[in-house]
Symmetry: C2
Amino acid sequence: MKLSQFPLHTQKKAPKDESSLNASLLIRAGFIEKLTAGVYNFLPLGLRVLKNIEAIVRQEMNELGGQEILMAALQPKQNWEATKRWQTFNALFKVKSQYEAWYALGPTHEEIVTPLAKKYIFSYKDLPLALYQIQTKFRDEPRPKSGLLRTREFVMKDLYSFHQEEADLDNYYEKVKEGYLKIYEKLELPVLLVEASGGTFSKYSHEFQVITEAGEDTIYHCSNCGFSQNEEIIEDSKKCPRCHHSLVKMKGIEVGNIFKLKDKYSRPFNLTFLDQAGKSKIVMMGCYGLGISRVLGSLVEVSHDERGIIWPKAVAPFQYHLVSLLSGNSKEDKLIKRFSEEVYQKLLKTQLDVLFDERLEISNGEKLVEADLLGLPQRLVISPKLINTKKIEIKNRKTGELKILSLQQLINYSQHEKHLSK
Amino acid sequence: MKLSQFPLHTQKKAPKDESSLNASLLIRAGFIEKLTAGVYNFLPLGLRVLKNIEAIVRQEMNELGGQEILMAALQPKQNWEATKRWQTFNALFKVKSQYEAWYALGPTHEEIVTPLAKKYIFSYKDLPLALYQIQTKFRDEPRPKSGLLRTREFVMKDLYSFHQEEADLDNYYEKVKEGYLKIYEKLELPVLLVEASGGTFSKYSHEFQVITEAGEDTIYHCSNCGFSQNEEIIEDSKKCPRCHHSLVKMKGIEVGNIFKLKDKYSRPFNLTFLDQAGKSKIVMMGCYGLGISRVLGSLVEVSHDERGIIWPKAVAPFQYHLVSLLSGNSKEDKLIKRFSEEVYQKLLKTQLDVLFDERLEISNGEKLVEADLLGLPQRLVISPKLINTKKIEIKNRKTGELKILSLQQLINYSQHEKHLSK
């Protein structure tokens, strides 16, 4: 993609109305736009990252045997009354139609997926079942001040599993836990597995926490045995209950939460099945959330420097940022432009993902500053000092590692990199 | 995908609370579920079709130079007040946060995209610009009785274009018109291009109408010169104003609508640019809608028979429906099961899209009835009468054309078909 044909608007200064680092950098780099408190628009670069994260999550959900569906955001009031959450779910947006009906604007989908599952579940033969969606959700947050970490509208993946008995739920829960860890590994997002409240129906749930000062959750962690618990449930914040080592207090962003719901929702909706003896039993459920847009914000929180964002390869909107620097000497510039175009076309032909800054009205300095701000994994520079030898400078945004390569060497290198990332 | 591992629930009878043919068939065949009036959940089969339609539309939008973004559904009240539509847009869902803010639940995005475009548009060099999204929208419809044709929550593609002057808008508008016709052709959805109201700011807009009795729009059409106009603007419903031939009255489903907005939205948001002479001018805009979920419903309205849906190849959830029929003779059934599995694995290996009905608890008759109801383009049957010769029956759902092929012939045939559809 040539930058002259791509809508990009970057800002030198941080936006004034944005206290969070993630939104501030994402707005400066032109990935998102703040529409109003807790509500953001995804611009072309931001949407690319969002979709890359979605693809990684979707692949893992499919590997966990999940079937993708898309449930509605407008959820009938009666479904929320059935679980008694119409009055108790604090962040619920309530919408009234002019034609009588009341809806909850879906903050989560237990109230929808449980009656939906009745369509598929009759006997033990229909179990287990796993349904998931990647969808926009809504929560009426009191203080949306953390950028993409806490918004009133957000993209989330939610998976729901259905089982004959607790033992099967327990097994699947462990598989999902492993699957989540694989996802965060692919995303290069370091997470800590933390015990959290299981509600009234299970001892613990598990949260996947990104440790950073920007986090809103407080976690106590034992560096000796690995024990980690959310502040909300810990009994003694000084000593590890497992090994008696001292605990460390940390801040974290919850980027995933898995829950054994057991019969919490299957009971109010009477989701039952006939077991092998023909006896009617209640279905056991699990639910597994992963905040797609929150992951995007978290990646920026943990992967940036004073110059801008540093995207992990797996989610970067483009892999290569090709920058054409000009000398002001018209003969030399002609050669630079021609060679840059040649490099760009060649990279496209080898199916590489390139953003090409060929703009003439932008200074060399601005181009390089913008490349750092955007944070694509590899920067390619074609410059006056290298044009005579037809070499290209390649710089790794993360490590700063720099190489000078010929076009053919660059192609070989990039093909090798592409192969590695598969 | 093996049906024993795929959540499918079909119904023999039409649902009682569904008067529309499209929703009735889609519910019976397990593609969607009605959550409440005008609100549907997309089940695994339905979501596959939706995504296939999206992919076709997205490809064409990219070819039209559109850049994909994702704007928020929660739209600040003040944006709708700026265009004076907060009070006048009848189908607007209005949502109140507990923390003061009021939102419109986005039924369309002119109020959001116009101020957003200010980020990118400063001078004539930044024009033209085209931004689009594929997103869930909301309208508080009074009588949602037409299944997916008119819902309170729906998936829509909306493209917005920005130009220096009307002439450029006019040119782009014609290109989008051609692009839309290409999309409907790929979707195998026959449409009529119909003149409709242009609002106060343009003589006409254009609608893409699917002619069917299920449609809610009334169109007058001249079979002699092709003139077509929506009832809402026609002056004389008897004679064609162009060739004086008599007009025919028809019913249609509007599956696309393109509009020259000119300065209707750029003026209230003061979206201007500096022309080549450095003079500030107002930006000219166009908007182009295409109802993704409405297209899905329309396809069912125009492509079905008494036995079920008939999906066009380009959007079918799977291309092949492999059915394994059993004889009751255990020795023969063993051969049938083994051969069916071999065929399935071979088709998967050649990257074909197959739904394999290998279920044991379903009768042969039910399997065939269900295959017709689901409406995948090609049905493959492995049956007692053909097992000795290891032949497979292949039947085209649309034409009824039937062939008896060996596995190798089937592979050759399917590879040829796949190649053709590219």
